[in-house]
C-alpha cells in the first residue's frame, strides 16, 4: 500500500481541480469532488477499488462528517479513507450507491441515525427506527423520552 502522500500526488495528477487535505491516514475532500474521486479510484487499475467497507456518519458539534473506508478485493489492498464534512443546516452529500451498491443500506443508516441526506440514493428512508420517528438519535443533542413518568 502506497504512502498517503503518494496517493495524494497521484490523485491530484489525474483529477484536475480536486482539493485533498491529508490528515494522518485519511483524505478530507469536499462533497462536490466525492463522486469524481470515487469513480477515479474505481477505474484506476493501480488501485482497482471495488469494495466500500464502511460508511459512518459522525456528529462533531459544529459539523457532520461522513467517513468512507475503501478496499480493493481484486488487488487485496487498502484502506483508502475519505472524509466529507457538511454543515448541520445543509447536510447533503451525493450518494455513492450508483457506483457501489454496498453503500445502500449503510447510507440509509447514516441518514436515520445522524441525519445526513444522500442525494441520488434510490430509496432514502429510515431503516432502523419506525417511519414516524421525528429525531436523529445519534446526534449529540438528542434527548430520549423518559419512560418513568
Amino acid at each position: 500500500m502506497e504512502k498517503i502522500e503518494e496517493i495524494q500526488k497521484n490523485l491530484e495528477q489525474h483529477i484536475p481541480g480536486v482539493e485533498l487535505i491529508a490528515e494522518r491516514d485519511a483524505f478530507l475532500i469536499d462533497r462536490k469532488d466525492l463522486l469524481t474521486v470515487a469513480r477515479h479510484l474505481k477505474e484506476n487499475p493501480s488501485y482497482a477499488i471495488d469494495y466500500v467497507s464502511c460508511v459512518t456518519g459522525v456528529d462533531y458539534k459544529e459539523y457532520l462528517e461522513c467517513v468512507y473506508h475503501f478496499y480493493s478485493m481484486a488487488k487485496k489492498l487498502g484502506p483508502i479513507i475519505l472524509k466529507v464534512r457538511v454543515k448541520k443546516e445543509d447536510p447533503k452529500i451525493p450518494s455513492l450507491t450508483p457506483l457501489f451498491r454496498g453503500a445502500e443500506f449503510q447510507e440509509r443508516e447514516a441518514y436515520d441515525m445522524i441525519g445526513i441526506v444522500f442525494e441520488g440514493h434510490p430509496d432514502l428512508r429510515r431503516i432502523l427506527m419506525w417511519d414516524g420517528f421525528a429525531h436523529f438519535p445519534l446526534r449529540k443533542d438528542y434527548i430520549p423520552e423518559d419512560q418513568d413518568v
Binding site: M129, W130, G132, A134, E145, Q147
Partner: protein, 209 residues
C-alpha cells in the same frame, strides 16, 4: 379435598379419587404448547433447552407452535424494542384463553443491560400481564426449566371456578400501543402496570414460610 388416608385406602382397592379441577389442571399443565417467539439471544438458550441435553419435551412443552391461535404460552425471550412492542401485544391478543406469559431474561423483565436505550422498552410487563419472570442474561437452560415448573405449580393452584375465562368466557385483550414521534403512545397500560409497583397481575406463588 379428600382425606389422604382415605385416598390411599381406595387406591389399594383400585379406585382413583380426584376432583375435576385437579384433573383439568393436570391435563393443562402437562401439555403446555409454547409459541415460537424468540426475539434475541435468550431465544438461543430456549432452543438449547428444547434440544437433547436439557430436553423440554419431558415437561410436555416440546411442541412449539408457529401460530398464536394454537399456543398456550408465550415465552418472551429477548429484548422487546419499542418498534416490536405493538406486535407483541397483538400476538398476545390473538392467543386464546387460558394463556400465560413467561418473560425470559433481564431484557424483557425490565429492559436489562440495554435499559437506557431510546428504542428499548423497559419491560414487556408495561403492556401485558406476566406470570413468571426468569432473570439471567441469558438464563441457563436449567433456569428456564425451573421457570416452566413454577408455571406448572401456578397452573395447579388455579381454582377454575374463579377464573374469568372459565366463568364468563371472557378473553383478555389489551390495547395495542402506537408509534409516536419519540416513543410509544401510551407509555404503559395503567390496567396492568403501576410505575411504582410494577406489574399488577403477577401473583406470588412461592410457599409462605
Amino acid at each position: 379435598m379428600v382425606d389422604e388416608g382415605l385416598k390411599s385406602e381406595l387406591q389399594k382397592q383400585g379406585l382413583f379419587v380426584t376432583s375435576i379441577e385437579q384433573l383439568y389442571n393436570w391435563g393443562r399443565r402437562s401439555s403446555i404448547w409454547p409459541l415460537q417467539f424468540g426475539l434475541a439471544c435468550c431465544a438461543i438458550e430456549m432452543i438449547a433447552t428444547a434440544c437433547a441435553r436439557y430436553d423440554l419435551a419431558r415437561f410436555g412443552a416440546e411442541l412449539f407452535r408457529g401460530s398464536p391461535r394454537q399456543a398456550d404460552l408465550m415465552i418472551v425471550a429477548g429484548t422487546v424494542t419499542k418498534k416490536m412492542a405493538p406486535q407483541v401485544v397483538r400476538l398476545y391478543n390473538q392467543m386464546a384463553e387460558p394463556k400465560y406469559v413467561i418473560t425470559m431474561g433481564a431484557c424483557s423483565i425490565s429492559g436489562g443491560p440495554f435499559r437506557e436505550g431510546y428504542n428499548v422498552l423497559q419491560g414487556i410487563d408495561r403492556y401485558i400481564p406476566v406470570d413468571v419472570h426468569i432473570p439471567g442474561c441469558p438464563p441457563r437452560p436449567e433456569a428456564l426449566l425451573e421457570g416452566i415448573m413454577n408455571l406448572q405449580k401456578k397452573m395447579d393452584a388455579q381454582k377454575l371456578w374463579q377464573m374469568e375465562w372459565y366463568k364468563q368466557g371472557k378473553k383478555r385483550e389489551y390495547p395495542v400501543p402506537e408509534f409516536g414521534p419519540n416513543g410509544l403512545i401510551p407509555k404503559y397500560n395503567p390496567e396492568v402496570f403501576d410505575p411504582m409497583k410494577g406489574n399488577i397481575e403477577t401473583e406470588d406463588i412461592r410457599p409462605k414460610t
